[in-house]
């Protein structure tokens, strides 16, 4: 009987064959933390182990509130710098032009690698599945424990196989696919499971598109989400690998799945997730014309160069009707957008471009909403109050839909402006 990706990855890490349902204790490879490395460091000190197990397995990337907007954030950042110094942690991305959103940095810096067990003290750590990693989000205590012991327990998850065929129609993208899937199976539809994306349409997708899919695995409750480590992945990591311990692993043809789904991209339309849950799917026709006050193009879900190109293609030579905030996922993406002239397109259209980071996605700064306001966003969560005010409304959509909506000042169908 064949094995799923999760069984292979966790079995390799455990050192013996495992099946779904078994519990294994494994050594994680890279352990990512962002601004919350500060409270984790405090918890770590309570354990009574003086040094972290392997300093070069820890990666700290400041992104949630940078540069620090409040004194509390500033203190957190300071504590992280002190801990980095004290523990000799080599992989630290501070508030510099080498930084960006943590999940983007993990991928573009060569930490996200096929077959690695990766953990992060952030729920969207599942993003690295786009590179074939087994990656999952954990809490702070658990991260402190991993730093101290180099161990973490996992129940080998059952797997959900999603096979994707067909081609996107004009104006439709990976974000529309994942919002549709979550709308179908709901916010707990993949609870505790490993989600595997299969099929020719996944193979045809860029890694950026695969990152959008895997990033939102957590929004259906998944432990991890993963795409095949194909030639595109191998080409992308070539020369930047932060370790040589990776191995391209993939599910066997005859692996056993808890559940299987299939999607044809040709049947998808542009869509949104309506307030206040990610599974509140609506095709664009149902919400077209809804007045908006802000558009946000950013976050770990959709702020890569590919996303910025799609949005710029719609905004070029036009002017936005509402305040539009553009936050490239990293400074590398920012520079590329600058060199390609995309930042000019955004500025000419009237957008505000801020420094790479999480920005307003979880309501820290750079675009908080006022009561009664509505934002259309490329991010991954529209929970009540997520962008700072509980009387505001967030619609999630693709970069193309967000750009089209920004032009009209209301939710708009990107197919009409392409």
């Amino acid at each position: 009987m064949g094995m799923t990706f999760a069984e292979k990855a966790l079995g390799k890490a455990a050192g013996y064959p495992v099946k779904a349902g078994e519990v294994v204790t494994v050594e994680p490879h890279f352990c990512m933390s962002h601004d919350n490395a500060a409270p984790i460091a405090k918890t770590f000190k309570k354990i009574g182990v003086p040094k972290v197990w392997k300093p070069d397995h820890l990666v700290f990337i400041l992104d949630h509130a940078i540069p620090a907007p409040t004194d509390e954030h500033a203190v957190n950042h300071k504590e992280i710098r002190e801990f980095v110094e004290e523990q000799g942690i080599p992989h630290f991305y501070d508030v510099t032009s080498k930084g960006g959103v943590c999940h983007q940095k993990m991928c573009e810096e060569g930490f996200a690698l096929p077959g690695l067990i990766m953990i992060g003290s952030d729920s969207h750590t599942c993003t690295y599945g786009a590179y074939g990693a087994f990656s999952t989000g954990i809490g702070r205590s658990e991260m402190a424990a991993a730093w101290a012991t180099g161990k973490i327990w996992f129940r080998v998850p059952e797997s959900l196989k999603i096979t994707v065929t067909g081609k996107f129609n004009k104006g439709v993208s990976a974000k529309d696919l994942i919002l549709k899937i979550i709308g179908d199976i709901k916010a707990d539809g993949a609870d505790y499971m490993s989600v595997e994306f299969h099929g020719p349409a996944i193979e045809a997708m860029s890694i950026a598109e695969r990152m959008t899919l895997c990033n939102m695995g957590i929004e259906m409750g998944a432990k991890n989400a993963v795409c095949p480590p194909d030639q595109k992945v191998l080409d992308a990591i070539k020369g930047i690998e932060k370790t040589n311990e990776w191995e391209a692993l993939w599910a066997d043809e005859d692996a056993v799945y808890a559940s299987e789904l299939s999607y044809d991209l040709g049947e998808l339309v542009p869509c949104v997730a309506k307030p206040h849950t990610v599974d509140n799917y609506a095709p664009i026709d149902e919400v077209k014309g809804t007045k908006i006050h802000q558009a946000f193009l950013g976050s770990c879900t959709n702020a890569r160069i590919e996303d910025l190109r799609l949005a710029a293609g719609i905004l070029k030579g036009k002017e936005v009707a509402v305040r539009t905030i553009v936050i490239p996922a990293s400074w590398r993406v920012y520079r590329q957008a600058l060199n390609e002239g995309l930042l000019d397109v955004f500025m000419d259209a009237g957008c505000v471009i801020t420094n790479p980071g999480c920005g307003p996605c979880m309501g820290n700064h750079e675009g908080i909403l006022a009561p009664g306001e509505t934002c259309i966003s490329t991010a991954n969560r529209n929970f009540k109050g997520r962008m700072g005010n509980k009387e505001s409304f967030i619609y999630l959509a693709s970069p193309m839909t967000v750009a089209a909506s920004a032009l009209k000042g209301e939710i708009a169908d990107p197919r009409e402006v392409l």
Partner: protein, 175 residues
């Protein structure tokens, strides 16, 4: 682990209660668990005063996917610090569940609870009797009974120590 029967009032929530509703991201910079209690459910419509009105010993009762979303442990700390002895839900988001176990905070998986809430078989203010050890739950107000599955053997050691960090400290001392 606590084997005796606990008695308290039910605070009833829907399905998919996300971490922003339990503990809003506005207060994420807070690192002292004791100060987190006051923000519990501040963003949950109709339960904004939960932190002020809930008494130690009261129960949080919810449907499916409690704790969906963020990995923030604040969403566990705030309820624990408030004196809520256990969260009863149909099921929990994976990270919330792990965070609860790793902090020695009991949660019970109660089959059928989501529908029971929708059908009004368990309501705000009902008096409940809960045995965390056996998983027996009784709504004293209307006589309805439920059963919750307690933690598995795997997590019992961690729970018994009071959480993952305490567990590691104890293990380190033994060496």
């Amino acid at each position: 682990m606590e084997q005796s029967v606990l008695r308290g009032k039910a605070w009833v929530f829907t399905d998919d209660v996300d971490t922003d509703l339990i503990y809003h991201n506005k207060y994420l910079a807070e690192t002292d668990p004791k100060k987190m209690a006051q923000f519990s459910f501040e963003y949950y419509p109709g339960k904004e005063n939960f932190a002020k009105e809930a008494k130690p010993g009261d129960f949080v009762v919810a449907g499916r996917n409690f704790g969906a979303g963020s990995s923030r442990e604040h969403a566990v700390y705030c309820l624990k610090e408030l004196g809520i002895p256990v969260v009863l839900a149909e099921n929990f988001s994976r990270i919330y569940y792990r965070n609860a176990i790793n902090n020695g905070y009991p949660v019970l998986f109660v089959a059928g609870l989501s529908q029971a809430i929708k059908d009004g078989k368990i309501k705000d203010g009902d008096e409940l009797e809960v045995n965390i050890g056996t998983g027996e739950i009784k709504d004293v107000t209307n006589g309805n009974a439920f059963h919750g599955d307690a933690v598995t053997d795997l997590e019992k050691d961690i729970m018994a120590s009071g959480g993952l960090i305490e567990y590691l400290k104890a293990t380190a001392t033994k060496k």
